[in-house]
Symmetry: C2
Subunit: 492 residues, 2 copies
């Protein structure tokens, strides 16, 4: 799509002849999009004074406003600053079937930092890597990402700024900063080129459009969008072979070996438990308060077999935390708003503010457990998920959030005993249903999946704690201890 | 529920004997709640040092954490400050089938203002009225609202503060401010009493519980919640007679007369339109920018007959506004998260931040139009909605938001012409379906509903602009003019 700079401007008549047809095509695209299974993300970035705002406004005039949203990032709000930097991009994402236009995209934030020193440039590249990763996630999930860079030469930029200044209606749009940036044209242009080079990937390439002729520019942007949309829609409509289900074969046999090596017969007597419990609850209370005072948030992840005692463990744990700072997020069937987004979106939603706590009762790991084994997603999707989830957790921990992950392990016999007990106890019957029995019949397959999860996603920044849960008292105390130790270590 | 202060404390043995049964009852309540069609809002407020935090933590330990959330309001964030004061309460509300515990409730914010001067006290009472209205809305929608005030006498407060100070684990919870408030006990207590008196309504009464004995207090809170829940669930399960549908009879005949009096034959030639359009678009652009600079937001509401040209009018209008500051919210079928809340919740969601614009393409008025005529809600619900919606708009305008409401009016013949045109034009066919024809057959009934809406919800702060839309050019220019005039007047 790189176009050589043309000196000739498109005549107004030719432009006006083309616009009605283009508008009809855009609206037809929107009708098709409504039925599509993917969102469209359109980034309009570019050199100073290249007319990004104008293009966005023109597109908004051409499109049916009902299916499109323009999302601009201003100064981060305090709710945004208290979360990892990608949080505000995640929460802005359009659902499937909708189009969002991002003037400047997420790239404007990165360029706005104006990195100069070598250290700043290293940070800049690190940020660009996160952005590339983010776009890769979305593209893998089916999103169409169209990124347009409007290019303006130094001479044209000067002409354009002068033009804007000379009209009373547009003079307000030129600030002293714009002229400052104009004088810095060479450096800023090469920084932007570096940005484009590092964030251009096959799934989300930058397309450079010559912006010296506003009419030609507007048409080129709309035509690029249409072209990319139709290519993408055709590709999305092609039936994808599901691939051979490989859910029951281990990717990393070491994981399931770790699981089998766990001694499950560890017990704790009632008396022992009561003697130690309050000490550890008190210690946990102090650790969480200390984290909160430092503005550090905590995320707990609880996974485990059905009836392994996740609920009870969470209850015990949260009793030591001020309920005002703590949210328990039970992960069950996603809502339709959640289903219309990337699978990680619903977890990003609940990332805690500075100094608060979120406890996930089941989590993103459902992707590589139930979704893997029940074929709710494609083999390439759950295989990819291990790295995606580790990256998500890395973003949390890099922001200073402490991530604690627990797998509550149970023997098959102990689960059976608990299922029977639930069925026989009036007020526990709601906790057992046909699905639990169905999952139980897949015990072996689940063990393989759990093993892979442990082997592939236990990282120094977010390790898995494997808890022997045949004895509830023992398990609860182990969780308290491991939590205290990890929090204390993180604060040290 | 007011209990006389008892000097005797509950023995530990008696307490411990009661707790297991109570916990089972609470969890059973939660199981019943999952299937219920209402949310539960539990406010735990009270005098200083009465143990609000403790009660909240104890309840969280007794309840299954999966169905309960604790919501505490800290200092408003900037995202909250930029919206009307009730916005942060609206966004916190639990969906149907869930329980939220509010330590301090919304009342703590009001009491925290510590009103002293007569003027501050008038403002205080005004705030309390808003809170009462808010709770009334939720209760009318079926919510169970349990508000508990933990009472502590002056002597007991002193004892309690000293107790807390004497333990290293709890000393941090007593601040110099707490002692200051203790010395001000009389005034604060009578302020709280005044608050309770003014916000106690049959649907959301305050229930005062003696807090001097922590064990007795914990049990009383849990028992109050259980009792209120069962009463409420029984009442909610009783079949409600739907009442006689009265949707087609006018409540205020003056409204439909106003509609009929509108001359629909007003036209504007192409040449006239083009001569004037740009002038008004420019003026609108300046007005919106001026509003934005003053931090004033703008909300546009577009309602009108099918095919009256809402989409085109919005497109024209938004072309004059910087797309980065403007969101168009099309109102169609609610998502399941929206359905699980009060009908106004989905509109509160999109209230713009300071200086931004939201355009609602259809709006909350669906309640008194389609929902009234299709029996999607009960007659008492849509009848109540007029006042509810006016109140919502009053909250917006009191916060400084400019609210512009347009009804695009059409003759029945012109609608028929446009329907036929849509059916005959390939790229417009998606805009017409069987439902449009069905609505058209109810033209007369809709006229009555529109008339009532105009008569009952046109207020000086948020007037309805009635637009003759048989001629699209005329309509668009009228909308531009009326918008400019209302914005300019609001900024003057």
């Amino acid at each position: 799509m790189e176009k050589a700079s043309e000196e000739r401007r498109m005549p107004k008549r030719k432009y006006e002849a083309r616009v009605p047809g283009l508008r009809a095509e855009l609206v037809q695209m929107q009708v098709a999009l409504q039925r599509a299974t993917f969102p469209v993300i359109l980034v309009i970035a570019g050199d100073e004074a290249s007319g990004k705002g104008e293009v966005v406004n023109v597109l908004n005039g051409w499109l049916d406003p009902r299916g499109v949203e323009t999302i601009a990032f201003h100064e981060p709000t305090d709710e945004e600053r208290e979360r990892p930097s990608m949080w505000r991009y995640w929460r802005s994402l359009p659902p499937r079937g909708r189009l969002a236009i991002y003037p400047g995209g997420w790239h404007a934030d990165a360029l706005g930092e104006e990195p100069r020193s070598p250290r700043e440039l290293v940070e800049f590249e690190h940020t660009l890597e996160s952005l590339t990763h983010f776009e890769g996630l979305l593209a893998n999930d089916g999103a169409l990402i169209v990124k347009i860079w409007l290019r303006l030469s130094e001479t044209e930029q000067r002409t354009r700024l002068r033009e804007l200044e000379s009209h009373p209606d547009t003079a307000w749009r030129v600030s002293p900063d714009d002229w400052k940036r104009h004088r810095d044209y060479q450096r800023l242009t090469s920084l932007a080129e570096r940005m484009r080079r590092l964030t251009s990937k096959p799934a989300a390439p930058w397309q450079v459009i010559e912006a010296s002729d506003p009419r030609g520019r507007n048409l080129a942007v709309a035509e690029t969008l249409l072209q990319r949309f139709h290519l993408h829609a055709r590709a999305a409509a092609r039936p994808k072979p599901f691939g051979r289900p490989t859910g029951t074969k281990p990717l990393r046999p070491s994981g399931v070996r770790r699981l089998h090596a766990l001694p499950l017969d560890q017990r704790l007597s009632e008396a022992d438990y009561e003697a130690k419990r309050d000490k550890w609850l008190g210690r946990l209370n102090r650790a969480v308060r200390e984290a909160s005072e430092q503005g550090r948030s905590i995320v707990w992840v609880f996974e485990g077999w059905d009836a392994a005692g996740k609920g009870g463990a969470i209850r015990r744990l949260s009793s030591a935390i001020d309920a005002r700072d703590c949210r328990v997020i039970p992960i069950a069937k996603p809502t339709d708003e959640e289903k219309a987004h990337h699978y990680l979106w619903r977890f990003w939603r609940h990332v805690p503010r500075a100094g608060r706590v979120t406890i996930y009762d089941r989590s993103w790991y459902g992707r590589v457990l139930v979704e893997r084994l029940e074929d709710f997603c494609r083999p390439e999707e759950w295989r990819r998920a291990y790295a995606e989830m580790s990256d998500f957790e890395e973003q949390l921990t890099e922001h200073g959030i402490i991530v604690l992950k627990f797998w509550l392990h149970l023997s098959k016999e102990e689960q059976l005993r608990r299922f029977r007990h639930r069925e026989e106890t009036a007020y526990k019957q709601h906790k057992i249903n046909a699905e639990d029995w169905r999952n139980r019949r897949k015990w072996h397959a689940y063990e393989v999946a759990v093993g892979d999860m442990l082997a592939l996603t236990s990282k120094p920044n977010a390790p898995w704690h494997l808890i022997a849960a045949n004895n509830k008292r023992f398990a609860r105390l182990e969780i308290l201890k491991a939590s205290c130790e990890q929090i204390d270590a993180a604060l040290a």
